[in-house]
């Protein structure tokens, strides 16, 4: 019975992992990763790690994957053009990964750990349940526990700073950065407020014509030129790099 469950969960986890790597649409990658995480939770249960399995399902498949789904929906996914910017990148990547796998398997199978070929020792029924893990976290590992909480706080603040700064800059810099479609009927009177009101549609409009290189190149020039003389030199050099990348 245990063997059957192990192989079903292992095949599910492997299929999920391959699906993450192989699917072209990032949304399908996220869904495959969710399936992978559920299979891993089953494996954790087989290893009598009930609390880790529950945390895997609740935190990972519940919370983190929702974040991924939102970002994929926001960014739009797709658009991964050709596969080989380096010639033979696909083949070389797979070759390197399989070499690493062979090496790891050799290390595992020739290991001196005799206990690898056993089920592990018999453990009490409370092994890995929330009470035991909580006692470990709050008694023996109190300092790492607090350190991870501080790290989570820092990551949340950092993500807010990273993602929200541009939202402040886009409407305020919008008095010069509107694309021609919205700034054409520009009387000088209510320009700033109208631009601010039309900020969201113009942003969406500009995003639809993002793929041509000119659309991404013209807006920074105009924004930089409207501010001062000094940022012009920096912003003029930007389209060269971005269009060179495209």
């Amino acid at each position: 019975m245990e063997v059957t469950i192990f192989f079903i969960a292992a095949i599910g986890a492997l299929a999920g992992a391959v699906g993450v790597v192989a699917s072209r649409n990032p949304f399908y990658s996220v869904l495959a990763l969710i399936a992978h995480l559920f299979s891993l939770a089953v494996l954790f249960l087989l290893l009598t790690a009930a609390f880790v399995a529950a945390a895997q399902v609740v935190v990972y498949a519940g919370a983190v994957m929702v974040l991924y789904v939102f970002v994929v929906a926001y960014v739009g996914g797709g658009g991964e053009s050709a596969w080989d910017s380096i010639p033979g990148q696909r083949f070389l990547g797979m070759l390197l990964a399989s070499v690493v796998f062979v090496e790891l398997s050799a290390a595992i199978l020739s290991s001196a750990l005799r206990a690898l070929d056993t089920h592990g020792p018999d453990v009490s029924s409370g092994f890995g349940n929330p009470a035991a893990i909580g006692r470990l976290l709050l008694e023996k590992f109190l300092l790492p526990f607090e350190a991870t909480s501080i790290l989570l706080l820092l990551a949340a603040v950092g993500a807010v700073v990273l993602a929200a700064r541009k939202r402040d800059q886009l409407p305020s810099g919008g008095d010069g950065s509107g694309d021609p479609a919205t700034s054409l009927p520009s009387e000088d009177g209510g320009l700033a407020t109208r631009e601010r009101d039309a900020g969201a549609p113009s942003e969406r409009f500009a995003r639809e014509e993002r793929p041509p290189a000119g659309a991404s190149g013209t807006t920074p020039i105009r924004r930089g030129a409207s501010e001062e003389g000094a940022p012009v030199a920096r912003s003029v050099s930007r389209p060269a790099t971005s269009s060179g990348g495209i």
């Binding site: 391959v18 790597v21 399989s98 893990i133 700073v161």
Partner: protein
């Protein structure tokens, strides 16, 4: 089930994630493959914890989970910031740190 099966499966999952990081070019999929690798390490940690009969490996796996969540949050924030600057979401084009 022998512990060695779990460890070999963990190695296989790790290499799948590594291959994805080497092959794919969208930053979001690369983050997903990073998750695969971290989860493979988690599986190995829990399996070794079962092998020794000690629960401390599970605490370690939980900490790895927290680190992965932090990494995801910062990485997705970066992706959103890149997207707002209308830069291409492709790691071959994003080779300069200059904003």
């Amino acid at each position: 089930m022998d512990i060695a099966w779990y460890i070999v499966l963990s190695a296989l999952l790790f290499c799948t994630g590594a291959a994805g990081i080497l092959i794919r070019r969208s930053p979001m999929v690369i983050l997903l493959c990073l998750e695969l690798m971290l989860n493979a390490a988690n599986l190995a940690l829990v399996a070794f914890s079962r092998m020794v009969g000690n629960q401390q490996g599970q605490v370690f796996a939980l900490v790895v989970m927290v680190i992965a969540a932090c990494e995801v949050v910062v990485g997705l924030g970066l992706i959103v910031a890149i997207f707002r600057r209308r830069l291409p979401l492709d790691v071959d084009d994003l080779r300069e740190l200059r904003g």
